[in-house]
Subunit: 500 residues, 2 copies
């Protein structure tokens, strides 16, 4: 086991994240700390980081270092971005951190920063082609990704902080300032020769601004899942929020539900920059990525190379199975049974192709709730699948997987159809119930945990479905328990269930 | 790390529980399995366990054994109670398990069974004096406890199975049968010379019947906490449920919300036995214990002695801290700060004496949600404190502790006052908010995790509260973060907060 600390010295905020890496290379975030130092502020005058802000940054770094020591961190990776990158007194800053605290700061180039942004997103979201945008305090990375590879990238020299300063966007914006601001954005984006290649792609946003926009939008729409990562919006949503904030002064913005107070003064500019880009590129959708630079640095450290994952979902499921020490063989047997039943029943019973990965997630993680308490663990698996780091599913798919896993036991579980009415339609609920029954049968077939049932065959006729088992020992109890779903099976699939 | 399997061969059901014991002796249940064999049924004819049922029991035992091997259990403890205890063919049963499966079954005497019932309850519920009742399939243990010690105990030869058989209680009960039944109960209870010493004490119920009663009652009352252990009822509740079930036939009982189907045929008798006892002893309240024989066996194994815990809450908090590998030093520092603030503020601000253990739980467990995911872990701590094995608090106290812990971070948390309106009154909510603020201050004071703040002093005057810190390094960040509660503090305590 190893613990690493990753420090990201941004132009607006400085952040520490501490990640525990187990011997099997599964990992988990165990601590975080953010300090809003606004290092990039007041730089415009002479191109130097202000002494005051450098002092503040050192106090924060020292705090991070103390935390790392207390937690028992083995290695610290510290990087700095735009503010330090273009500071005339960069060397002073880096040396002071080195001398005072023994922290080696690597100042990332724009290209490098773009790479880590990409590497954080591509390993935690399921996409092949996208335009990624990481708008920070003083810079804005745009990365064009096709087939999971970086095709183009650029680091633009504007972000929430310096846009706010330059165009006076802290308080309500007047028409002249707004015109200047929009013209500036248009000019900057137009300079990018390859941007037309991003047309119609999803726009993946990284950074505090887009997370803030996502949170505001979730509050506005009474979105019930508290999941910032992979939250999906449309161009309209971003534009609405830009219109909403541009006419508010800072104190009004501070009262906005979802926006953190220390971002209220620098929010308008960055929202405008995102909205403008989304419109220009006719983004098919806007996705919030909760992962970016820090996660990218982490994955490079973990993988020891720069190749993106080919299957984000598989990797994240595997991470949970290992990190929570689930019974891997049992999980895999249950998944192999439920997959078999699914493939045999999906066409005749209108389940469709899509839910395979949902069923896979539910099958492999059905026991993860034991980690909270064995008692009622189906309910806890529901909670964990919604809240642990399951990457590579949409929110709706994640919600469906959570429900299906909750059906794996005799204990009852109710779908809150009212609560989730905006996310799950009737067909989804039926799919959940059908797959839930298949999962329960599969779980019963390996409830002895020892692979007693070595294989299953499924035959279907007009009135019945027969599952034939090959087993080592007498599977009497497995069959009895699996047959408890008989009446539910009959109701959902319209056929009698036999298990032999 | 060690895993042990405990097998309990009861007259109605056979159960396996597998518990993982860490090197620091913290523990967690990791698997369970129940088979309803009804071993005690059909014994009345010749006093032998029926061949059929013995065969079934062996199949179940073999299943349990396979599970234990698959899980990697190091040691199996197997015990049998009333049905095997009084079976004429006891030896045959025990030897068959030994020869066929290598499982050594210890047949418990009534006294021993009563002890383990007591030992399971006394180590997971916070009481000094009580009458404990464990009504099983064919016997009924009554244990009088004073000052956490067993004063008297008896094992009565009736339970859900044989009462149902003897008095024909499976279907709706006719008057004659009921009269015979009640007369029999009265006679049996009247034979116990010491039962009058139990008058007015809480009655703690163990076993499937009382858990079933609890579940039915929770459903009937729309009780929102899914917590069977330590659920409190009144004599009236039990009597109502007896009246409800006695006139139903078995198929009607099977439809009863909360009652498991395989208990419907043997439920009426055991409910009657509990209701009659509760009334006879004028029980001050009836508590459901989710722990009994198996937990008692486990605790004896773990403690290597028969002494009950002196502080159930402390022990269970410590178990969670260790099992989930929380930062113990940090947790203790946060608790020492919050305790200090609490003692300084409680009298002047009407917080009262009672919440000390609530605050202690919240303080020591505030980070336990990180176990689910660091992101939003205050919300997960709420979930875990409600659902993990926190023993020694009432449900309401547990709910309050969960809320308070959820207030430990900057991230917002809302009390669902509507959802919990039957449990939390306005004063409780105010207490939660006040203690939540104290916890957040305390957490900030050790957010560096290294004990930088070595001590605090608290002085109060008419308009303000001043917390004076003694620290190793400059506590600038700690103070800044703690002062984020200023306006909430002012609102709740009516005083300005200073931290120096």
């Amino acid at each position: 086991m190893k613990k690493i600390g990753i420090i990201d010295i941004g132009s607006n905020s400085m952040r520490l994240v501490v990640i525990k890496i187990n011997d099997d290379l599964s990992y988990r975030v165990i601590d975080e700390k953010k300090e809003t130092v606004k290092l990039g502020m007041d730089m415009t005058y002479d191109g130097n980081l202000s002494r005051d802000r450098v002092d503040k940054a050192m106090i924060s770094l020292s705090f991070f270092k103390d935390m790392c020591i207390a937690i028992g961190v083995d290695e610290i990776i510290a990087v700095a971005t735009e503010a330090v990158r273009r500071a005339r007194n960069q060397q002073y800053f880096v040396e002071r951190a080195k001398d005072m605290l023994g922290i080696e700061i690597k100042v990332l180039s724009g290209k490098e920063e773009a790479f880590y942004d990409y590497f954080g997103a591509v390993n935690t979201l399921d996409f092949n082609d996208a335009l990624i945008m990481d708008i920070g305090g003083c810079s804005n990375q745009l990365i064009l990704v096709k087939d999971k590879k970086i095709i183009e990238s650029v680091s633009l020299p504007f972000g929430s902080l310096n846009l706010s300063e330059k165009f006076h966007l802290k308080e309500a914006v007047n028409e002249q300032n707004e015109n200047d601001f929009i013209t500036y954005l248009a000019d900057e984006y137009n300079k990018i020769p390859w941007l037309n290649k991003a047309k119609g792609l999803p726009l993946i946003g990284i950074g505090g601004t887009i997370r803030g926009i996502g949170k505001i939008n979730r509050k506005r729409n009474h979105y019930l899942l508290e999941m910032p990562h992979n939250y999906k919006m449309e161009i309209r949503d971003i534009k609405d929020i830009y219109e909403l904030v541009k006419s508010k002064d800072v104190s009004q913005k501070q009262k906005l539900k979802g926006l953190s107070k220390d971002r209220a003064d620098i929010f308008t500019g960055a929202v405008g920059a995102i909205a403008h880009l989304a419109e220009l590129c006719e983004a098919s959708e806007i996705l919030v990525s909760g992962s970016g630079l820090r996660e990218g640095l982490f994955f490079e450290y973990l993988f020891k190379d720069k190749k993106p994952l080919t299957d984000v979902l598989d990797y994240s499921i595997n991470n949970i199975v290992n990190d929570f020490e689930l019974d891997k063989l049992h999980a895999q047997r249950v998944w192999s049974f439920s997959k078999m039943l699914y493939f045999n029943l999906k066409d005749a019973h209108n389940i469709g192709e899509a839910p395979q990965k949902i069923l896979k997630t539910a099958s492999l993680l059905h026991d993860c709730g034991v980690n909270i308490s064995y008692y009622d663990h189906h309910r806890h698996s529901f909670y964990m699948i919604l809240n642990a780091k399951t990457y590579g599913l949409t929110h709706k798919e994640q919600l469906m997987a959570a429900h299906i896993s909750a059906f794996h036991r005799k204990e009852e579980f109710k779908i809150d159809t009212y609560k989730y009415r905006n996310i799950l339609n009737e067909a989804d609920i039926l799919t959940i119930q059908k797959l839930g029954v298949l999962l329960k049968i599969s779980e019963c077939l390996d409830e002895r945990l020892n692979g007693n049932i070595q294989g299953i065959q499924c035959s279907i006729d007009e009135d019945s479905v027969t599952i034939k088992l090959s087993s080592k020992d007498n599977p009497e109890i497995e069959i009895k328990d699996a047959l408890e779903v008989s009446s539910a099976f009959k109701k959902l699939f319209g056929k009698k269930l036999y298990i032999k």
